[in-house]
Symmetry: C2
Subunit: 504 residues, 2 copies
């Protein structure tokens, strides 16, 4: 049978608290912002053929959240170490330690930190107290899992031990050497439970999840499971509704990989040897891998039956699995394909079962092909957004060049350099771009005008622009081609200035 879901949520939310200088203050009960993106009443959420089912309406906010996380610092009163390992800007993401496997056993506390070598954010899971397993086993599990890379996993980056966390708080005692698991960070992640199953969100009871969402989740998880299994590993406890995170619209990632192996009470003998040449999968691993398949089936069954409190409550299945499959068939709007997938996955829990990951993938081949099309559609729309943004960054660069040239009066250039010759033309152009007024003398603050002028400057268009001196006494006609030449020429002069040109 599949492992029962862990009842104590862990990593409910990996993003830092809203006030980035506040301490950990995450509220468990506030509604999931990601759940809103699955609200079937929103027009943009309906999945049209050919539309991008992964479109993220708040991508810009995600980008900002990531920058905020990168720049965020912990409140000084929290006594957080400045550095932990090679990570700085440590901020706790949870108010207090949560159990990793259940009430008993090791507890963990999640932090974010910025890697000093890469400059990127990582999630640091600190295991409180002395490591609960021999260090050789933890190292072996860490080495095995660091090799596994897949976009539906928050991958393990490294495992290290540190006394930094305990050095300050227990000044009188010898600091404990604690183990820290470093994972990829996602600035916008909530658990499957929080997004889809939280009983405090009444909406969940009335809306079955769209079948396309279930297939998206199934194919991402199974694609990751296949890669993990081909590495002769098993995801084990990472495959629960509290460990699988939703990180975007219809996008999931499995978190906390490797913990089950690192802290396995029966030791790490089932783990693959560090030499990647050994290719045999031992019986223990085969059994664990079948457990993974049945865990995926369990997750899908819970999500499929979420509308009916007779079958699912607080994310737990209340009935035997065969009853759940029968309920899926009779009571839900889902296709027979999906029901058969769930049934086949759950059947892997039977000890005599011979079902393999590849068989499951073969079974859903046509769905995977469809899903592949959906993801390519998503890449196409991301690429289109990128093309638009590339424009902005070209404009930004041009504006920077104008900034370097206009209104200079420093020691580096001739007296009145910015007011004469080519630069005078560029000054009048700057006035034309930014300082326009309407017939009533009201400033025109029109970013579209700025973008249009700079686009023409960028390509050096042959179109003409009428520039007027500040007192209005003289008018000059210039093409954007001329202006572009002036700008490049002026930049050349600036680059060679300070060496050849006389200072004022």
């Amino acid at each position: 049978m599949a492992q029962p879901p862990i009842r104590h949520a862990f990593h409910r939310k990996m993003s830092p608290p809203p006030d980035r200088r506040a301490g950990p203050s995450f509220s468990q009960d506030r509604p999931s912002p990601l759940a809103a993106e699955f609200d079937p009443s929103r027009r943009w959420n309906s999945i049209q053929p050919g539309a991008d089912m992964y479109a993220n309406p708040s991508l810009r906010e995600s980008a900002r959240a990531e920058i905020a996380a990168l720049l965020g610092r912990a409140h000084p009163a929290l006594a957080i170490p400045e550095y932990v390992g090679t990570y700085y800007a440590i901020v706790p993401l949870e108010a207090q330690p949560t159990p990793i496997f259940g009430r008993a056993g090791p507890h963990g506390l999640l932090y974010k930190g910025v890697s000093a070598s890469r400059g990127s954010i990582a999630a640091l899971l600190r295991i409180i107290g002395a490591p609960p397993a021999p260090s050789a086993q933890i190292v072996r599990a860490g080495e095995a899992w660091k090799r596994v890379r897949h976009p539906a996993l928050l991958c393990l980056k490294e495992v290290f031990t540190t006394r930094q966390f305990t050095a300050r708080s227990t000044a009188s005692m010898v600091p404990t050497n604690e183990v820290v698991f470093v994972y990829e960070f996602s600035s916008r992640a909530e658990t499957l439970f929080h997004v889809f199953l939280n009983p405090t969100t009444p909406d969940h009871r009335y809306h079955p999840l769209p079948e396309a969402t279930l297939w998206a989740i199934a194919s991402q998880i199974l694609s990751a499971v296949a890669v993990v299994h081909s590495n002769r590993l098993a995801l084990r406890d990472a495959l629960t509704i509290n460990r699988v995170l939703v990180t975007g619209r219809n996008r999931v990632r499995i978190n906390c990989v490797g913990l089950s192996d690192a802290f396995d009470p029966s030791g790490g003998d089932h783990l693959p040897a560090t030499s990647p040449r050994a290719t045999t999968t031992n019986d223990r691993v085969s059994a664990l891998q079948k457990g993974d398949l049945s865990s995926v089936g369990h997750i899908l069954a819970v999500l499929a039956l979420r509308i009916d409190p007779k079958f699912v409550r607080s994310g737990s299945l209340l009935v035997p699995e065969d009853v759940a499959v029968e309920a899926m068939r009779r009571l839900t709007p889902y296709s027979e394909d999906l029901t058969v997938l769930v049934m086949s996955l759950l059947s892997a829990a039977v000890p005599t079962s011979q079902v393999t990951t590849n068989q499951i993938l073969g079974m859903i081949g046509p769905r995977l092909a469809l899903e592949l099309g959906n993801v390519w559609t998503h890449t196409d729309s991301l690429e289109n957004m990128l093309f638009v943004e590339f424009d902005s960054s070209r404009m930004f660069r041009l504006m920077g060049l104008l900034g370097f040239v206009n209104e200079r009066s420093d020691a580096g250039v001739e007296h009145q350099w910015s007011e004469t010759g080519d630069r005078y033309l560029l000054k009048l152009f700057r006035d034309y771009v930014f300082h326009r007024v309407d017939e009533n003398g009201k400033p025109i603050l029109d970013m579209a005008h700025v973008v249009e002028c700079l686009s023409r400057l960028d390509i050096g268009s042959p179109e003409q622009v009428l520039l007027s001196s500040r007192d209005g006494s003289s008018l000059i006609v210039a093409t954007y081609e001329d202006l572009r030449r002036c700008l490049l020429q002026s930049m050349d002069e600036l680059r060679s200035a300070g060496h050849g040109l006389p200072n004022r």
Copy 2:
């Protein structure tokens, strides 16, 4: 058996000629720029586990090409109509008409045009002369194919007739009403033949394609084939090495869909009824769909055997298909999985074959799952690039605001407005950002400094900056928070100026 490949390349290149004001001047013999991206000697081309195998090293150039295509205009001497249907900015992409199915039969000429309603570029395939099929058949094919959307197709957008192309050139005669097929446009597309099989690229003979590339091509094409077949259609002549286009690294799209149906000599009776309710697939369509599978097998066999001129010359298979499969098995480095896929696809050509598209997809389920991971990795790296570009567009906006405020001396604001109060601080900040000099008086032209200053301004950081008056006589300490407040306040004043403030 599969259709023999068309010997006369069509749509070798869809991007406009380099000089956008020149007429059609495409050279067939210049090397493929896309082929260079598959050069196995380039370091970034090696596919690491977890790396983005679809990363496009020249994405910025693609964006520029797209803008150039959007802004491009035909040379006036070419006598191109200004408008065709609802499309303007018409530019021919080919020097002369090329046959569509073979030497005989209809000829086509490709143009690009900008949609007046959507503002986006489209590829216009003009069929020269009177339509070679009854208009009812063309309309029926057009309606059926317009419904098919898939990211591995350049989809059909519309079909219309026009006298515009012939109106000018044959002024004395009655203009011919020609039919135009409008497709999605790709600014960077070359045929599979041109990129991978062109005998003038000697490189092809020595390097077998990476197996990952073959799987990428196979899974994209088969995913599109599945969607087409589920619409009770078949791709037919569109599945050849001269119709499948490479539009990015490891990325393909099938072009010219629907032409075989529109001009089918036996009429369009096999096409699905316009009512989407009819669900039966008739025998003719089943046979054509099996033909599609064997065409995919043919394409893959040709690509797999490209290194050996005994088997493949100029993109044509020189041996029977069973010999080709045997050669793949004995002479190439590819996996048995790939050989079995090609063999199964080719077997669909046997009249008694019962193989279906879904069976093929089930067979390669595990590969599709792997491929799904690769595409998600690609979306992740696109998203990361997007986050960086979002930054630029925020910086661009801020620079625009500074431009509106700094150095104003127009009728809209008080005399000396830009030199006093908050604006004076912003002027000194502008000098600090753009007009720095080093100890030798040499201007520091450092875009990174600009970005850093503006990032801090954007978030209103509490950090301090030391601003100096132009004559160096006074120093002012301000936080970025202060400066941000000054900027927003000044923008507010500008917005209300011209109404309340006295003019100078």
